[in-house]
Amino acid sequence: MNEAVFLFLALVTVTSGWCVVSLKNIIHSAFALLVSFFGVAGLLALLGADFLAATQVLIYIGGVMILLLFAIMLSEKVTNEDLFIRAKALPALLVLGALQLILIKVVLDAPWNERPGPAAAMEPTTEILGRLLLNEYVLPFEVISTLLLAALIGAVVLIRKEVRRRRRPGER
């Protein structure tokens, strides 16, 4: 049962991941990315990370995807035939294919420190994560909240039209 679910989610994630980088219409590739996010959320849930799966859906699909779709619609005509740099597609495919093969070999050969014994119990992780974030990881937590604030202000500053144009005395 678990194997079937895993295989299905893996297939969905990888196929839509390939669609993200190969489709011509940018809206289609954005929606393929959405499907891929859902696949990764399912895989996280399979790993027993229920809070992470929910966060993935909330932040990525609810936040980042909506933002991406807005940016796409604000900036470009949607169907764009020359989305690719044609001349560079083949070398990139060759190099990354080789890289993929090397990575597969490394992953399969490496002696991972996989702890034997039964898998970790499937328990709700939200409470433990909250305790960890406010005790052991409180400094990274505060730093990342500052970073989020900085990103927020930075985005507003970058997009804002110039309002404080210097006015000379003769001008209206």
């Binding site: 993200v20 996280l44 932040i59 764009n80 996989e114 970790a120 974030l133 970073l147 997009i159």
Partner: protein
């Protein structure tokens, strides 16, 4: 039996696809889509290691930080893209050839 390697293989596939998108696309938003794939692969790997190798949930904290970082970065990148579009009327990275704006 689904082990650690299966999840890592998905991570490598997502990473390579994202890298391919970054290398071959000329639309800045498409490049951002590839970047999001790579961040997802990293988060998935952390969660997989936490589940199979460590058996605690300390690794999941890192996935949480990765999600927050990716959200913040994509906000800033999209703001940059829109600012560039307002100035140059293009978001094709091979046409942005002016340093002075």
């Amino acid at each position: 039996m689904i082990g650690l390697e299966s999840y890592l293989l998905i991570g490598t596939a997502l990473f390579c696809f994202g890298m391919f998108g970054i290398l071959t696309r000329r639309n800045a938003i498409s490049i951002l889509l590839g970047f999001e794939l790579i961040m997802n692969a990293a988060g998935l790997n952390f969660a997989a290691f936490a589940h199979f190798s460590d058996k605690t949930i300390h690794g999941q904290v890192f996935t949480l930080f990765i999600i927050a970082l990716a959200a913040a970065e994509s906000v800033v990148i999209l703001a940059l893209i829109i600012a560039v579009y307002q100035k140059m009327r293009t978001i094709h990275v091979d046409e942005m050839d002016s340093l002075k704006g």
